[in-house]
Amino acid sequence: MRYVDEFRDHEAAVRYVRQINRITTREWTIMEVCGGQTHAILKSGIDQLIPGKINLLHGPGCPVCVTAVELIDRAIAIASKENVIFCSFGDMLRVPGSSKDLISVRAEGGDIRTVYAPTDTIRIAYENPDREVVFFGIGFETTAPANATLVYQARQMNLKNLSILMAQVLIPPAMEAILSAPGNNVMGFLAAGHVCSVVGYDDYEHIVSKYNVPIVVTGFEPLDILQGIYMTIAQLEEGRAEVENQYRRAVRREGNITAQKIMGEVFNVVDRRWRGLGLIEKSGLALIHKYAEFDAEIRFGVEQLTAEESTECISGLILQGKKKPYDCPVFGSLCTPEYPLGATMVSSEGACAAYYRYRKEGTESIKQSGGKERP
């Protein structure tokens, strides 16, 4: 087993679909939380294979998409300063801020570099002792230990020219925000598997009991998602609401204790503003006081910026699961991956980008989707 191709098997997928059909008696609306799952669903055509009675809503699980515009503007302000090397995951560079994006800063001469691992910036800082090196620390719980390790190692190495612009967000508070919003119609969740690999799934117990919704921790391959859908529908049909774990090969109830220790050493929980969802209490991570010297916002003293989003873009409603990309009047016309108006069209995990890519060019079959992603 290589844990990729086996979970894309067409025959097993057809059998799962048959079983989902067998147990579905009425209409259900469930949300897959993670953008990676949204892409797998669109790419393999799961949304078209499952019974029409099941409505899949696409959740806010795309860190690039939910990063608030004012934080993008702050990144742009820092990246525009002389002597700064601004490092980021590639997806962030084309997300529109109020007036421009990071790519245009690069075009104007800014030194903006894409990195694969947060800790790659340590080498950049070490090799450029006369420059200020800043890392754009976005991500969910999955990325938090890597970002924490960057800060921890910077302290160990006594690197004075490295800092991080913190944009880390946490998933369970966003799920609660969606459930408590007026007009919510989410009846069950496929929870984001890799978030749970890190932090476990104990946090979901109180959401399940408070809102009476099933939550199934789910992986990212087509068979994982089909099994997750089956387990969620089975709970709904039986009138149960429990936390279940579909992704047992990668997720333990307690999560990864070593990862949680390094996160606890470096970060504390703060309120954070999300694009589309607004301010959510205790939904972000910031550096604790002991590591404040590595906080780019403090180091560069960027003033509070007021930000404006594109008026035509409905990505906020898409991130809340209230609209789908097809509901947007500018989808595919004024807004395309080449000229995106909102983050959900930019990110490789955004719902609009997924619809644009897979529904415009047709759907790949599950068997043909190969196993060639970059690690």
């Binding site: 290589r2 990729v4 953008g35 800790t119 999955t142 190692q153 047992r248 090969r249 990668a250 990864n256």
Partner: protein
């Protein structure tokens, strides 16, 4: 963004507690990966790698449950039909 890809640990290069690193094979392509967060993982294990860090060791016994579960629900369906 939360993409994590399974790969097999081929070698452990540094076993320092703070910066445990190793070579991980992704279908034959070797990459250096930070293994600090998976102290239990050893050569031959599969790990899930995200942003250069292994975040979880794949539990090989649990991996077959997706297929066992399918058998179980199919049997459940058949016994339901014969009732």
């Amino acid at each position: 963004m939360c993409l994590a890809v399974p790969g097999k640990i081929e070698s452990i290069e540094s076993d320092d507690a703070l910066s445990r690193t190793g070579k991980v094979s992704f279908g034959g392509i070797l990459k250096e990966v930070n293994l600090t967060l998976v102290p239990e993982a050893s050569v031959g294990n599969y790990v899930l790698v995200h942003a250069g860090f292994a975040i979880s060791t794949v539990n090989e016994e649990e991996a077959s449950q997706t297929f066992e579960y399918l058998h179980q629900i199919e049997e459940l369906g058949q016994s339901g039909e014969s009732d």
